[in-house]
Assembly symmetry: C2
Homo-oligomer: 495 residues x 2
């Protein structure tokens, strides 16, 4: 076996372990009785350590060196695979095991405390453990920054969106930060001049909601022979490409959230299901990064599912599912409902106009936390000032402010920007798809999404990690990641 072939065998093993973990994580959220929690934590920790050891084993370094010296013998996919192996190796080997373990314990502890602190609106309670997570994250960022010769923040960002830099993000976010506040003002004003939406009145049986969600998933070409839809407290897409585990949550008083949640996760799920079958279990066969992943969920949820064409297709089905009749079930009311814009406090409930402002706030704050420009005790004040500046509202408490997200307690610094990068990419893809596919609007109205998803699959899903995010965007849409298509989309939909 060549060095490259040995690496392939090793990463296949690693993928089997992470696939096992993915199913067990799904099980924890969907199936596991409470009493199983301790043993499950032990299982996942053991699998995590063994997977880590497969990359940090001293043999791997030599194998990578040898394979890279012979890269000329590899084809484009193989050499991209080797590049991705090296990327994973660099992250695993930059940091020593003690720091990894310390951070893992600190985030587990901080996440636990966060649940209570948020519930009780008590930032003081969170402070010591959040301080610990931020300190350890700083250490990790510093070590990786030195090893990769990039900035500390970029070293964290690279874990979620490889090769992305804060320089790039600053340009995008400064532009959006300039544009959105006044645009939001205008949208709210215009919205206030028209009639407000009416919420359809339930109850909406959970089974009917689930069947409707599954019908839309099937229409969107989700393959139920390689995936499932279940229920969990927090919706997510887990599992592996040939066994995608998608979840949503239901309330019988409101079907609109569960429906859009299911459509959002379906976007993630289609990316996973359509990853290149030939490269299963290899790094190049994985999804490119979090920005493109989020672009796929937002493509389906925001671009497609709230479009006039989709509403024309979907509304009769929605009405049918719940025997809906009357004023709140008209096309115009649904459009108002699904295009409603609000200056809210909570990111996960935000519409597509205000969502980027929530993200920009978090990005600026996490950069400042990491550099030391912002101290933990000053976080609540800085958060509220930022909300005032960007969204024009001031949270009345920390529960509706800096205690709302699990990301920082969980150590995920560098993750937030990918949400908005995904929204920008989704707009670019959608705009291009609308002109590249003949008759696509009519197809959507007729509930035939096959050509649209094929286009996405060919231009994004099937590429796995072969190309960079910007290369994928340039090839598909003619431009790198930018704000133009997104702003154009917002103006068209909301003004």
């Amino acid at each position: 076996m060549t060095a490259y072939e040995k690496l392939v065998a090793r990463f296949k093993k690693k993928s089997a372990l992470s696939g096992a973990s993915a199913i067990l994580q799904w099980d924890s959220a969907v199936m596991m009785p409470d009493g199983g929690a301790d043993a499950r934590a032990e299982q996942l920790a053991t699998l995590g350590v063994m997977s880590h050891e497969l990359t940090t084993d001293s043999e791997v370094s030599d194998l990578l060196d040898t394979a890279e010296a012979n890269v000329a013998s590899l084809d484009a996919w193989q050499s991209a695979n080797l590049r991705e192996m090296r990327h994973g190796w660099r992250h695993a080997n930059a940091v020593d095991a003690e720091l990894v373990e310390a951070l893992s314990h600190a985030t587990s502890k901080c996440e636990m405390i966060w649940r209570t602190a948020r519930e009780e609106d008590d930032f003081q309670q969170l402070m010591p453990s959040l301080q610990e997570v931020v300190n350890l994250s700083k250490q990790m960022a510093a070590v990786k920054a030195e090893a990769f010769n990039i900035s500390p923040y970029d070293a964290l960002l690279d874990q979620f969106e490889p090769s992305c830099t804060s320089e790039t993000i600053d340009v995008l976010f400064d532009d959006l930060g300039d544009f959105l506040p006044s645009f939001l003002e205008e949208v709210i004003e215009r919205q206030g001049a028209g009639p407000s939406f009416q919420m359809p009145e339930g109850p909406f049986p959970i089974n009917a909601q689930k069947n409707l969600g599954q019908d839309f998933m099937k229409a969107l070409t989700f393959d139920f022979s390689r995936g499932r839809l279940d229920t969990s407290h927090h919706p997510f897409t887990g599992g592996i490409p040939d066994d995608v585990r998608l979840t949503t949550r239901y309330e019988d008083s409101d079907f609109t959230q569960s429906l859009m949640g299911t459509l959002h996760e379906t976007g993630h799920a289609l990316y996973e299901q359509n990853l290149p079958a030939k490269w299963r279990g290899q790094p190049v066969g994985d999804a490119r990064g979090m920005a493109l992943h989020e672009s796929q969920s937002l493509f389906v949820e925001m671009q497609l599912s709230r479009s006039p064409e989709f509403l024309s297709f979907a509304l009769p089905k929605i009405r049918g599912a719940f025997s809906g009749e009357g004023d709140s079930w008209t096309y115009d009311n649904f459009k108002r409902l699904y295009h409603n814009v609000e200056r809210g406090f909570i990111r996960v409930d935000a519409d597509e106009v205000t969502y980027p402002l929530h993200v920009i706030l978090r990005y600026r704050l996490e950069v400042a936390l990491l550099s030391g420009d912002l101290a933990i005790p000053d976080l609540p004040g800085a958060w509220n000032d930022g909300m005032q500046e960007l969204l024009g509202v001031r949270p009345p408490n920390n529960k509706l402010g800096c205690l709302q997200d699990i990301h920082w307690p969980g150590g995920a610094i560098g993750y937030f920007p990918t949400y908005t990068m995904g929204a920008l990419a989704a707009a670019q893809f959608y705009k291009k798809a609308m002109t590249a596919i003949p008759d696509v609007a009519q197809q959507i109205e007729a509930g035939d999404f096959s050509n649209l998803i094929k286009w996405l699959s060919k231009n994004v899903h099937e590429l796995g990690s072969l190309k960079s995010t910007d290369e994928v965007l340039e090839t598909a849409t003619g431009a790198k990641l930018g704000t133009e298509a997104f702003k154009e989309h917002l103006k068209k939909r909301y003004l």
Copy 2:
């Protein structure tokens, strides 16, 4: 860390891996879409290899030697734990990796072919792959026999029922083989003289069946915070002690099978849930062996659930669940139904009188297959002759004969005897429990099983693998495994 402590850490890791596999196996049978099968096989194989390597690693041998030299420093549980570690080590290290892998591939292939061969009643089709499995099993038995200095058959038996020998089984089975055929004759005659049972007529909604099963499980002290009941094609008890995954299957035309199936699995599940909490993840904390495991399921299904006291408690609940009224819902009819004895062809459908005869046949045949006294092509004839001799009926085809069980295609030679050893042990335990617990019959009639299960737990479950099967039986019932209590039970119930 002492050598013993190092072993404890290593076996804890091994247990986490096997626990992960157990949940993934449950998922394969209950949740997984078909498309996930290949990746799941890869996950389970990877976990299996890694778990195997934890025991075959050269360090383990030295650690075991050192710990055994210092066994005086260990308490009774610790030294039993060390003994069980050595037992696992001996099995893992006796056979080289190639043979293990060859057998694993041969059984996977043979099981696949068996499904079709059984369906098509085509023994010829199965022959080559079954020959391969038997050949490799012979090799494995020979290697282990030499390493352990016991007979080849006993070396296989030792995997399922440690330290058990065919000498012991021969005594028990010869006795049953003498007693049962004439006893069966008598029972059938007596049964024929009375009225025959009437099958209650459905349909019986699946949900009502499931709720009823869960109610009985709760009454039997199954802890739903540490386990679940789900549906699968073949009922089984899987998972881990603090997260027991029990399954059953339902037919809406007949609730009696699913109900008894659920009660059977509940017996297995209670054993797992009540294993010593202090020894989770260590070999001494595991169930003793398959004979005691089966004794727990048969204790609940055969001894308890078909007793007059249990029927008095259960019948009103069963009637209530299905709004049952009329002749087929009387106490007498249910007793006839649940005590019906038949000379059938299929083991899994057999009653408790004929079941041991099915097992004796298989035991005698697998001993002969392993020794070479019986050749694969002669199996169908030997099977049918044995059925004629033991049960007085001759299967009209191999589907109802030697093709019915997956055990041999799956390489499980040495497993069958544990079913009947379990039935014998169950009778011993039940007899003793009825005299040891004051007012137990009244408690059962009142649906209060707490003292009965506590007795079982104290005498069996909580001992884990501390003692041998015979030691457990002697301490609890005053006698080693024997046939007396079982025969007495059969005479009392059926004559």
